[in-house]
Amino acid sequence: MTALDTGSPATAADRLAAFAGALDDCHERAVPGGVVVSPAGWAVASVRRLGDGAPVPDGSGVLAARHGPRASDAAALGTFREALLELHRRTLRGVLDAAVARLDRRESEGVPLLGRQLVRGSVADVALALSQARDVLRLPRPTAGRHHRVHRELVDAGRTALKLYGAFGFTAEGPGGLLHLTELLGDTYLYPEGPEDPEAEAGHE
């Protein structure tokens, strides 16, 4: 459970701290008391949980990363990936809801920006992506490839959502920092292994 579910925390620092706590919950679900290590040997968690490692170079200071030789087992990775995607989905949902509220308050030529068709279309696009991601993640027999595809769609939807914020989406106080961390975590943990070639999955539509 993150603060994003129950009304957004007041400041960007609070939101980032809540996100780091939610990421640690994902680790706890997969490896109680520990951290999940990606197949490429990376572990990313809150600074407190990881204990050592370097700060993730996004400037927020809430997450740390460590590289080591031993990846977590497939069961732990599977559990963690599902939890991570759910966190990504919840985070993006919070960003979308906040965008809608913000655009309803901001006016241009005396009319709320939320009334603009381009804006409404973008809101709908993000909502459709969230809805589809939820349904795909409910399918039986999850695979790493499916997880990666859902992640990519959520990244694209997140970029669409950030455009609703204009320059504010690029500030440390805005939602861009949070969504950047979801992208970075997916880049770290959500690559398919085995027969699915990650390079074949590269590129975004």
Binding site: S38, H67, F170, E183, D187
Partner: protein
């Protein structure tokens, strides 16, 4: 692509390319500490940025390459310069002293005396940072709706209001502030403001990326403005002043910004090729597709910039090339992270930096939504698609 450019442009491009070759380390340092540009002011790239759009008669040693002399008043040459420097590092380029957008506004609106004073200062021995203050907290960059007030006060005026998302403002010595002297579109003015004037305050706004842009928030509290600081006040009709200046500056600068995005994109694709020389199959196709889009966008951007130099300013096409370039930069950085494999953003600090930087182009010089409206106008008028 050289065959599409006149000889003097090719020589300039090659010269700037050389100057941009060593900018990555500086760019990485500026990403960590945006004040670090002060330690790199000796670089040739900084001299180029300081001289961009400053007329040659003000410069002690203007840029000469072969038989040609340059001041980058040409939109094409300005665009090429910025694209090449952005290939080196876009954040570094934006952190540099020099006229950037304020110079275009002063050139478009200022009278002889105003231009002379401005260029003399920019060409002086000390590096001078400038800003272009249009965007406001509540209204974005909708110039016609701006609320910063220019109020008569004795034999001059006072300036009150706020600007937001203004590059370099917290570090600048002077800049242009767009403000409202009277209601309606003819009531907008552009004022040259010295940041030492009492009542002027600017603070950096921390950002996710492109930290070299040093995006800032400005507060204007009873800032004294003399009549001679209002650009074109004594020489231009109100219909040719503030709002026109804002629009002309943005139009003239959009290909330059597109060049910034395309320079970054080219650097990203070259980086992928260097790191993964043996890409094959779908990955190779992905890279080839991005390269095609990049080549097409660069060619188109040069054509747009050349058209501006010829006096043909087409808002729909300018909006389109800026949008294409901004979206391509995002697409390329997302794809690069995928092509370089799991953990690339943690493993490759430079990639992580440009991945964050690339998102800035979407809102700089007008968001994608605003640009799309301009493209639509072109479609509706039958001017956008030949």
């Amino acid at each position: 692509m050289s065959e599409l450019l006149p000889e003097r442009a090719v020589l300039l491009r090659d010269h700037v390319r050389e100057a941009a070759a060593g900018l990555r380390d500086a760019g990485m340092e500026i990403d960590r500490d945006p004040t670090a540009v002060d330690r790199w002011l000796h670089l040739p790239a900084v001299a180029l940025m300081r001289g961009c759009t400053v007329p040659v008669e003000y410069v002690s040693s203007p840029l000469r390459i072969g038989p040609y002399t340059y001041d980058m008043s040409s939109c094409l040459e300005h665009t090429l310069t910025i694209e090449e420097l952005s290939y080196g590092d876009a954040g570094f380029m934006l952190a540099c002293p020099g006229p950037l957008m304020s110079g275009v506004a002063v050139g478009a609106l200022g009278d002889d005396k105003q231009r002379h004073a401005y260029y003399q200062r920019l060409a002086g021995p000390e590096p001078t940072w400038t800003f272009f203050g249009l965007t406001e907290p509540g209204k974005g960059s909708a110039a016609a709706e701006l609320e910063t007030a220019l109020t008569p006060d004795g034999d001059g005026f006072r300036l009150d209001g706020a600007k937001r998302y203004v590059g370099n403002a917290a570090f600048a010595q002077l800049g242009v502030v767009f403000c409202r002297r009277a209601p309606g579109p003819l009531g907008i003015e552009a004022v040259l403001v010295d940041t030492e004037t009492p009542g002027f305050r600017a603070e950096p706004i921390p950002t996710v990326g492109m930290r070299g842009a040093r995006i800032s928030a400005i507060t204007l509290d009873n800032v004294r403005v003399e009549r001679e600081q209002i650009l074109g006040y004594d020489t231009l009709k109100p219909s040719r002043r503030g709002l026109v200046g804002a629009i002309r500056t943005l139009q003239r600068f959009r290909p330059v910004l597109a060049g910034t995005a395309l320079g970054l994109t080219r650097a990203v694709l070259d980086h992928v090729r260097a790191e993964r020389p043996a890409l094959a199959g779908a990955a190779r196709q992905c890279l080839d597709d991005l390269q095609d889009r990049l080549d097409a966008a660069r060619w188109h951007n040069y054509a747009i910039a050349s058209a501006i130099d010829a006096g043909e300013v087409r808002a729909d096409r300018i909006a389109a090339v800026k949008t294409r370039a901004a979206e391509l930069a995002e697409r390329a950085t997302l794809a690069a992270a995928g092509l370089l494999g799991p953990g690339a953003l943690l493993r490759d600090p430079w990639l992580h930096k440009v991945y964050r930087d690339a998102r800035a182009f979407e809102f700089m010089e007008g968001t994608g939504h605003i640009q799309r409206l301009a493209v639509f106008q072109g479609v509706a008028k039958g001017t956008f698609l030949p």
